[in-house]
């Protein structure tokens, strides 16, 4: 049992890494096409990682070495663990447990914390500034994210599906068809909020203020090189897949196999393929298009933007779901 679980975990993490790098390649290629460029080949992220593995791994003189080296590993492990808890298409998650959705929320915060730790541990002004910005960003987007999750979980629980905060239950009951018109409106608002939170969670433009290459020279990654930088790169790839999979699990957990009445191995393959397409659609809509269309925001704009409009929208979605419960029951 344990051995099987280890094999499954290894397969999911390796698959996630591959997929994350492919998505990164697609993201860069499509962004380039939107800007009228040819763009790098699809395998560019793989080449970048291979190159980073060859480079020297510099530890700055003022750094705290153990923390400096631990941060990228922590980020990668946390991102990989999130993936193990998420349902991947027709495949059940490798790990499950009571309240695993809450655990996923916390685990999603860990890579950001690890990056901030690494930034502080590097002991240089740019990385310290980047780390502080990362913390400010986290304080801004975590609340709307929590409201979105609580809204979905609460509505699922009121429809009589238990236990609450279980990813398997939430992704097993697509809410869209179970709630009334008010509920659908509320869900749409929550989905919009989650799609805005996604690029912030992944530190992509317009929320790449902790890295901000043109103003603070790479921010919290400024002192990282070689293998450590490659680990952060991989953690970012894994986190992209994890965020996409979370959005899919919460809002679009539909499968194609049931629609076509497929069974067995074919059903599994079709569902996983459809899942990959859905994750890609989420990443494309909330990361690629947004990052091409927008410029970087300032840190105070991000903090205000998340605390006032986005939080208000998320709370409005929650209130609509509560009203829907009162009307539909």
């Amino acid at each position: 049992m344990i051995v099987q679980m280890i094999w499954q975990s290894a397969a999911v993490v390796l698959g996630g890494l591959l997929l994350g790098l492919v998505y990164k390649g697609l993201d860069r290629k499509l962004a380039a096409r939107m800007q009228g460029r040819i763009g790098p080949p699809l395998r560019q992220p793989f080449l970048d990682v291979r190159k980073l593995m060859v480079k020297e791994n510099v530890v700055p003189r003022d750094a705290v070495p153990w923390l400096f080296h631990a941060a990228p590993i922590l980020a990668l492990v946390a991102a990989a663990t999130v993936l193990l808890y998420l349902p991947l298409g027709g495949l059940a998650p490798v790990l499950t447990g009571r309240g695993d959705l809450i655990l996923v929320l916390y685990l999603l915060a860990v890579p950001a914390v690890a990056m901030a730790l690494g930034g502080f541990a590097a002991g240089t002004p740019f990385s310290a500034v980047g780390a502080q910005r990362e913390i400010v960003m986290m304080m801004s987007y975590e609340f709307p994210l929590a409201v979105v999750v609580v809204g979905i979980v609460w509505r699922t629980a009121t429809l009589g599906h238990s236990p609450a905060f279980s990813l398997a239950v939430v992704s097993g009951t697509p809410l869209w068809s179970l709630v009334g018109p008010l509920g659908v409106l509320g869900l749409a608002l929550l989905l919009l909020c989650l799609l805005v939170v996604t690029p912030a969670e992944l530190s992509k433009i317009p929320f790449d203020i902790p890295e901000a290459e043109t103003e603070i020279a790479g921010g919290l990654l400024v002192e990282y090189s070689g293998v450590n930088l490659a680990l952060f790169y991989l953690a970012d790839a894994l986190k992209t897949v994890a965020m996409g999979a979370l959005v899919v699990a919460l809002f679009i957990p539909y499968g194609l196999a049931g629609v076509f009445g497929l069974e067995g191995l074919v059903a599994g393959i079709v569902d996983v393929a459809f899942f990959l397409v859905k994750v890609f659609a989420v990443v494309f809509a909330s990361v690629t298009v947004v990052r091409v269309a927008m410029a970087r925001l300032k840190v105070d704009q991000v903090a205000r933007g998340f605390w006032i409009p986005i939080t208000t929208a998320a709370l409005a979605g929650l209130v609509l779901l509560i009203l829907d419960k009162a009307v539909v029951g």
Binding site: A32, P40, E56, E223
Partner: protein, 144 residues
């Protein structure tokens, strides 16, 4: 794993050491849709720690000499230095000027010179490709 890893994934860092901005604009031009160096895997990065190649523009002014040396030391190995423009290669019109510490190769070891005032983006891409060949050479020596 060999150093041929650099062939299609090269991150460059731009060090202006007192240039007139002419060459710097041409480096930016190489990133635009017309030349699009990203299709070769060449990417401009914000810190020398991520860089494989340093693109140095302009002759080195006295205050910049120490900084240039430090930036070179901050870049992780293996690395290459490409001097972009006539000023960096020979000091150009600032030859023996009172406020100039000398052309780039008097401060740090240089691998490739790209002359021109300003250089054309094609020449910069060519210079960076030659730098890749330089990065790969130590491995070729080891093999033989």
């Amino acid at each position: 794993m060999s150093l041929s890893a650099f062939k299609r994934a090269l991150w460059v860092f731009h060090v202006p050491t007192g240039s007139c901005n002419g060459c710097d604009i041409e480096i930016v031009a190489a990133l635009t849709p017309r030349y699009d160096v990203e299709r070769f895997g060449i990417m401009l990065v914000g810190t020398p720690r991520h860089a494989d190649v340093l693109l140095v523009t302009g002759t080195v002014t006295r205050p910049m000499a120490e900084r240039l040396r430090r930036i070179y030391e901050q870049t992780p190995d293996p690395k290459a230095v490409v001097v972009v423009g006539g000023c960096g290669s020979t000091s150009g019109v600032f030859y023996e000027s009172y406020n100039v510490a000398g052309p780039v190769d008097e401060i740090i070891p240089v691998d490739v010179y790209v002359p021109g005032c300003p250089v054309r983006p094609e020449a910069i891409i060519d210079g960076v490709v030659k730098a890749v060949a330089k990065l790969e050479r130590p491995v070729a020596k080891e093999r033989t």
